[in-house]
Symmetry: C2
Subunit: 219 residues, 2 copies
């Protein structure tokens, strides 16, 4: 845990170094990165992205502060990497598993089911990463807020695509896609906050309301 | 700004001191308290209740850290006093002005109108105090979270009372009060976050959805 480990940064690797050693170093770097980011995501979901620091991450991962600093350079790039890591975990936990369901209402329900599992089981120590951090960063313009808003936009697009598909095939009756997406996400965020605060009924409330939005036409 | 000011605490005032001086001290204490809490509410709405500290508040208000510490004793009691101060500001800004509207749908609309003004104009530097801080404190059991949840419960009760009144007088058609309150608050919280992030359409989306929930019976 000395500052010497900062000498092993990604910059200025001697060109005469054997490729095998470089590969090992890259692998070690990638592994360290993952360990740090997994911890950072937990801290950020519990305490907020503003609370992550090189020093605290060094303490909780047992890695050297200098080594972490060499990997991420600035606090802002650490925050951005944390947002991206949380995004990938979200895609793996919610979006990818739902993609095997047929398009439209079935996939929308699969997305909601996966989202509820994601909020109920501690994938992140503090529940939904985006909900926790958007509420913190909404008043702070900058790259971190932009990244969080981009993630939200992407999630809204995923829901919108299935709603549009359900409309096109006549699975559901006419509705305003943009309004419904806003409504569904608002309900999920509220359910997440309530769930974190120990109110187990919130999820079933959100689910009942969302189901009532998906009105099946009379045949 | 020396630590001597901590000698002027509320404890152990000499009993032979003239009442006038004691009154002045109490007044000065109350004034200081208000200055500190107004600043604390802004910091908490922007950065979160976890981020307020005696040192930072001393710096931004120009008061002595020791004096602030004498008034509030611990960080947790400062946080609780901040939640209570924000609650009073919310009542003054939203609930009291709406109370002149007739009970039922009219008062509900007045509450929503005042809430939107409250979210749009910077009463708190970082927008809705409760939204910002519940998302931070939902994963942290303790008196501060309990106080925030109590405020939320109180706000839910205010909305529920008007919905029940509108149902009793037949102003609106049958609806599930508990579900509708959950939905209205979820939409307001989402609108607040979007508004803080620069999305001005969110408020009108929330308003349109809430209006659609208040279905007037056919005569």
């Amino acid at each position: 845990m000395t500052s010497q480990s900062s000498d092993h940064g990604s910059h200025a690797l001697p060109s005469q170094e054997p490729a095998k050693v470089t590969d090992k170093r890259l692998l070690r770097g990638a592994r360290t990165r993952k360990i740090v980011l997994r911890q950072a995501v937990d801290v950020a979901s519990l305490e907020g992205l503003g609370r992550i620091s090189f020093g605290h991450l060094a303490l909780t991962t047992g890695l050297s502060k200098a080594g972490i600093q060499t990997l991420f350079k600035t606090k802002e790039s650490l925050q951005l990497a944390t947002v991206e890591f949380a995004r990938e975990l979200f895609i793996d936990a919610v979006i990818r598993p739902a993609s095997s369901a047929p398009r439209g209402v079935a996939r929308l329900r699969a997305l909601l089911d996966r989202w509820i599992v994601y909020a109920e089981t501690p994938l992140f120590a503090g529940g939904c990463f985006r909900t926790a951090n958007l509420a913190e960063f909404d008043s702070h313009p900058g790259p971190v807020r932009d990244a969080l808003l981009h993630d939200q936009q992407e999630w809204h697009e995923v829901i919108a695509a299935e709603l549009r598909c359900a409309l096109e095939t006549g699975e559901i009756t006419e509705l305003d896609v943009e309004l419904t997406v806003f409504q569904i996400d608002a309900l999920l965020c509220a359910a997440n906050t309530a769930l974190q605060a120990g109110d187990d009924n919130a999820v079933s409330k959100a689910r009942r309301i969302i189901e009532s939005l998906l009105v099946v036409p009379h045949s």
